[in-house]
Symmetry: C2
Subunit: 326 residues, 2 copies
């Protein structure tokens, strides 16, 4: 794992696709074509704090790993990010989160009703943008991924409050709600650049590994992160009865864990105690090691990528996913 | 306007497309492919109380007005209904509605979080079903319609509580949130059957008129309907500050109207008083007459449909939209 400052800097990692990322940013607010002043405010809020743009970057890097970036790449990058943005807006409503990307969430600023509808607006725009590209197979890939994201979110709700949640079930939720969209971003990038089936599979495998690791680390940061660094509300998983990998491991390893988890979930003042216990018990390390394993798989998957600069960027991006503090 | 019992019976009106409607019903629960037991329960709830299936019927009748029904008609009927179902689930969350199709709403049975996510599940399934049909133009039509539905819902939220809401703005909201999807259902039915541009335009115009009238009547029923007949929570528009056509007319016609509207919105016990005032002032009749005008336009639009049985069914369906009590 590399930890040098340069490797943690997304701008540096995205350098080989800087032009594509600029096209993406320009297109993102344009393609959401606001209808009237009110929707315009919501679109401006949704597009102004940029976020990591991980999925568009995965798509462009995978395209460049194979060949040329086409207009269709940009359109599908916009559609993938719009799907992701829709799920974030709805997640913040469901989690009653107040902070995202260091700013008040949409639900805080405009209320739950406008936020639910704006999430729908983003979903349907994703559909419209993807439809207009005229790439049938790519369309089917992104549509299937969007369905799986929603299935993952529903599975998570179904398992809420389940202190016996098996690790396998947790991994299934993470795969559907996060890894599938990252995998699809890579698959789309490769397919639209005319990749051979082997190479498409390799890049899709990379995306899946990065997506799994990304979510596992996200779940860890929700427990031990620093709100000033992550820029979003923390501790919401526990409050909402969503037990993630460190908690699942802790519950399995320590007979007294259930009591402490319940106390911390019910009253935030016990969260510090739980954090210490998760670190002392090795449960946090267990989760990070699971994430590192996925990153190892991801890197191994792209060994056959010939474009050196692009393979290096993909490797650095994989390391970033583990090392990031936000 | 016909009012005989037969004309009010949707089964009778749908008789020429009975086989298509059966294919639709069978396909609807199948295509929502539940992932696991929990989602299975939600899908079963969403597909078991059938509703009017107005949009699939519009699509099939428009197809039959032109030619043959193809597999693509069934797929787009499923996609259009899934989009409609998604908006109903989210509307019930936003309206805090407790009753729909004479049963408890999803938000009552499974809570707001599962309902928001299940609405997303329906939206993304619509996208998947439509994508797999391989009809690019049809896909663009339905994608654009879905975007406009969301724009209409957001416009409505933006205008909430505006006692000066102009009638034109109300009509714009109705057009986007309801008429566009009905118009698209007709356009899709015609286009997929190979309609000439003139005929496609005529049927789309019919759908738009029916959709406008349907929503205006829906808004009237929310004020003067009977919950035992409509099978859904009433009075929610007023409580949520959504001023509809009878209210807009009443506010314009009577200087004392604003006070009564505010009292009825704040406290349901004044609703009876408001109902009487809306009827006595002619405001309710004004709204119904606007709906009848749209139905007149709709019928005029399909004068060139040669298939007599189908044209008769379309005319009866238009009458049903006005005469219905649920």
């Amino acid at each position: 794992m590399t930890t040098g400052k340069d490797n943690l800097d997304l701008d540096a990692i995205y350098r080989p696709i800087a032009a594509e990322m600029r096209r993406f940013e320009q297109g993102f607010s344009e393609c959401l074509r606001p209808a009237g002043a009110f929707v315009g405010e919501l679109v401006a809020h949704a597009t102004s704090a940029a976020g990591k743009r991980l999925r568009p970057a995965l798509l462009f890097l995978s395209g460049r790993a194979v060949g040329e970036i086409m207009e269709a790449h940009v359109r599908f990058a916009l559609a993938v990010e719009a799907i992701h943005a829709a799920t974030l807006v709805h997640d913040d409503v469901l989690d009653e989160a107040s902070l995202r990307r260091s700013r008040p969430t949409m639900n805080v600023l405009w209320g739950n009703e406008a936020s639910v509808l704006f999430g729908d607006y983003l979903f349907t725009h994703a559909f419209r943008i993807a439809s207009s590209a005229g790439e049938r197979r790519a369309l089917e890939i992104i549509a299937e991924a969007a369905v799986e994201v929603c299935e993952g979110e529903l599975l998570q709700i179904a398992e809420r409050g389940n202190l016996q949640l098996p690790e396998e079930r947790y991994r299934e939720i993470v795969a559907k709600k996060t890894a599938v969209l990252c995998e699809s971003a890579c698959r789309l990038g490769a397919a639209l650049a005319g990749a051979a089936p082997e190479m498409e599979k390799a890049l899709a495998g990379y995306g899946r590994g990065v997506g799994m690791a990304f979510q596992i680390v996200d779940d860890c940061l929700d427990l031990i992160g620093d709100e000033r660094e992550t820029g979003k509300s923390l501790g919401t998983d526990l409050q909402k009865g969503k037990y993630t990998l460190p908690i699942i491991h802790f519950l399995r390893a320590d007979a007294k864990a259930a009591g402490l988890v319940a106390r911390a979930a019910g009253d935030g003042s016990h969260l510090g105690e739980l954090r210490n216990a998760l670190i002392r018990s090795g449960s946090m390390e267990y989760a990070f090691s699971a994430a590192r394993e996925h990153i190892g798989d991801a890197k191994a998957s792209i060994a056959a990528v010939k474009a050196q600069e692009i393979r290096a960027a993909l490797e650095k991006l994989a390391d970033y996913v583990i090392a990031r503090r936000k």
